[in-house]
Amino acid sequence: MIAVDSLRRLYGDVVAVEDVSFRAGEGMVFGLLGPNGAGKSTVINCISGLLKPSSGHVSVAGFDLQREPRKARSALGVVPQELALYEDLPAVENLRYWGAAYGLKGTELKTRVEEVLGYIGLGDRAKDLPKTFSGGMKRRLNFGCGIVHRPRVLLLDEPTVGVDPQSRERLFAMVEEQRDAGACVLYTTHYMEEAERLCNQLVIIDHGRVLAAGTVAGLRAKLGERDTLLLTGDFPDGAASRAVERLVGNGLRDLEIIATAGDSLKLTLSDGSRHLAAVFEALAAVGARVDESNLRRPNLETLFLKLTGKELRA
């Protein structure tokens, strides 16, 4: 449903997106995971037609965005990162207007608007102005405006930013319902948990480039079954690597340092809980001090850390 090939987009001299390619099919949630400034919105905007790619190709529902923009856009529903609502127009009128913008009319428009109002949980606030709504309600209406016309392809750009937990759950449920109804959902986020929970497939991007792509399970497998051990304390120069060398020599073959920074140390190893004591001992022996420790099962956060050497949310 969405095909992106060698997409590249510059802002002046700044390369925002470089050589991004992926395919997202119907009935799936396709994730675009990356930290702020990674280029997620730029990719979304190239697909929605707001930005022209500097080079590369984008097609939506089989229509090339350059050659048949009207047809491509008709298939699209967009839920932008920044709210795009008439704050001074009642919720129901917002939905009606956007339905009309996508060509709905008459009774079809009317019934569909009623349906969406109930669906986004704003049935009892239909006549109220969005400027009186909470952040979560606005997000839900923003979502509603993107789906009035039953799009086959739905673009969601960080839809949960600034949203209370309840509205967040409602949004997740709505995304899943769209997917189950056969839509192709492109979902960008910088929250690894959201990507793990919602996405069938995803690409991880940073600095405009694809770092990894695949299913959540497949990406996890890339890490092996290793755990991450996060330590804070005092690690004098070279102490950590000496301790790790010693431990590897003693049989902890897959122990690796993934990041060090002054008072923190990140390690990866198999079956971490069994070897905790040995790790602490070895560190103490080289003069390091551990104040806090945190052992994690492998997840996308770890993968991102391993690929880039930095935290996803940093």
Partner: protein, 412 residues
């Protein structure tokens, strides 16, 4: 078509939520119009009389020259011959019945006016004449009042701007914003217009009840155009509102035609203009007892022109880098255009070179045609060429605005 209507309905619903703004756009011109009308209540204009106005200018300042200058311009100049005299000569000639009126501008008058201190002009009229002394009296009061209201409304800004000119300092953005905000606030506080004027015209001798000339009629088109300009430029700023709310971006990612969106907004603006100019014209027609058969062409002409102005204001505002700059550019354009185009003083009362320029301004042109319509012997007096011209200007505005929308303004 159906989307054009949806877009127009959406805008009307939104604008209707802020009726105060609409009232201000309507209210200011009505207030000024009411004021002028109360100064010179209407009546049929008959044969054009001529006479002599004796002036003793003891002040000899810019302001005093502006006062006398008004009688030396345009239509008034054809009726009134100005003669500078000494106070003794003036009295002698008045006593002999050789002149219509004697105006004495005391020394220090200009200074007092600028400082908004009370000042008195003495006007002695010839009891033997009827119409001319009336015109002179009304014209004088009107001039002082108009100047007074300008001073009242924008005195502070005028001073600041004058200071800049003097010191040659660069205008800081913050100051400009403050001024724009202040001007807007001032416009909204209609109260300021209700304060009593500081200048009084003391009539030494008045004639008996005189025939009244409908000089006020000269002001009507300018006042209507003031309402049109305020409304058109104010509504045009909605394009920035749409951009800031993100709705323009959402629209650009839809399959919808941006020209239809713009036509919808223009349609909504046209309806608002129809109501506002409708009210202004109907009141003007009723007050001056004008032929109602001219109302339809006058209204159609004004509304069509207003729609064109709306599109051009939108196009100009989209050139600005920020919303604030757009507002500033709008004010910078609107006020001089109103001034030159005869909304504060009728073109006929302005110095010739300004009047010539004024007729070339869009609002001046529209007002001039409107004048010819409402004063014509038969209805539909505006030529097809003028209708065609204004229609072309409107279509060009649509083209320019649509181009800017689709070439980046909506997508940014």
């Amino acid at each position: 078509m159906s989307f054009i209507l949806s877009a127009a309905a959406k805008d009307l619903r939104r604008w209707w939520r802020d009726p105060m703004v609409l009232l201000v756009w309507l209210g200011i011109p009505l207030l000024i119009g009411g004021l002028i009308t109360s100064l010179m209540s209407g009546g049929g204009s008959g044969v054009r009389p001529t006479g002599v106005l004796l002036v003793v200018d003891q002040d000899d300042s810019l302001v005093s020259r502006a006062v006398t200058g008004m009688f030396g311009q345009g239509e008034l100049a054809e009726m009134i011959t100005l003669k500078a005299v000494s106070i003794e000569d003036g009295r002698t000639q008045m006593d002999a019945g050789d002149a219509s009126a004697l105006l004495v501008i005391p020394a220090g008058f200009g200074e007092a006016w600028l400082r908004e201190q009370p000042a008195t002009l003495t006007l002695r009229t010839n009891p033997a004449q009827k119409i001319l002394p009336q015109i002179i009296t009304e014209g004088l009061e009107l001039l002082l009042d108009a100047g007074f209201y300008a001073q009242r409304a924008f005195g502070e800004e005028i001073k600041v701007i004058a200071d800049w000119r003097e010191t040659g300092r660069e205008a800081e953005a913050g100051r400009i914003d403050a001024i724009v905000a202040a001007v807007r606030d001032r416009l909204e506080s209609v109260k300021a217009y209700l304060l009593p004027p500081a200048v009084t015209v003391e009539l030494v001798e008045t004639g008996q009840e005189a025939d009244k000339v409908s000089l006020a009629l000269l002001f009507l088109p300018g006042i209507v155009l003031m309402a049109v300009m305020f409304t058109a430029s104010g509504l045009a700023s909605d394009i920035w509102e749409e951009r800031e709310q993100g709705t323009l971006r959402r629209l650009s990612s839809s399959p919808q035609d941006i020209v239809k969106f713009l036509l919808g907004k223009t349609l909504a603006a046209t309806l608002v203009l129809f109501c506002i100019t409708g009210i202004t014209l109907v009141l003007g027609f009723a007050l001056h007892g004008m032929a109602w058969s001219r109302l339809a062409p006058a209204l159609a002409w004004t509304v069509l022109s207003g729609a064109g102005l709306f599109l051009w204001f939108a196009a100009v505002q989209m050139l600005a880098p920020t919303r604030r700059a757009a507002g500033l550019i709008s004010s910078i354009i609107v006020f001089p255009l109103l001034m030159a185009g005869g909304s504060f003083f009728p073109l006929a009362a302005l110095p010739d070179w300004i009047a010539a320029f004024g007729r070339l301004t869009p609002n001046g042109f529209v007002a001039e045609q409107l004048t010819s319509e409402i004063t014509s012997a038969a209805g539909w007096a505006i030529t097809p060429a003028s209708w065609g011209l204004i229609l072309l200007i409107g279509i060009a505005g649509l083209g320019v605005a649509a181009t800017q929308l689709s070439r980046g303004f909506a997508q940014r």
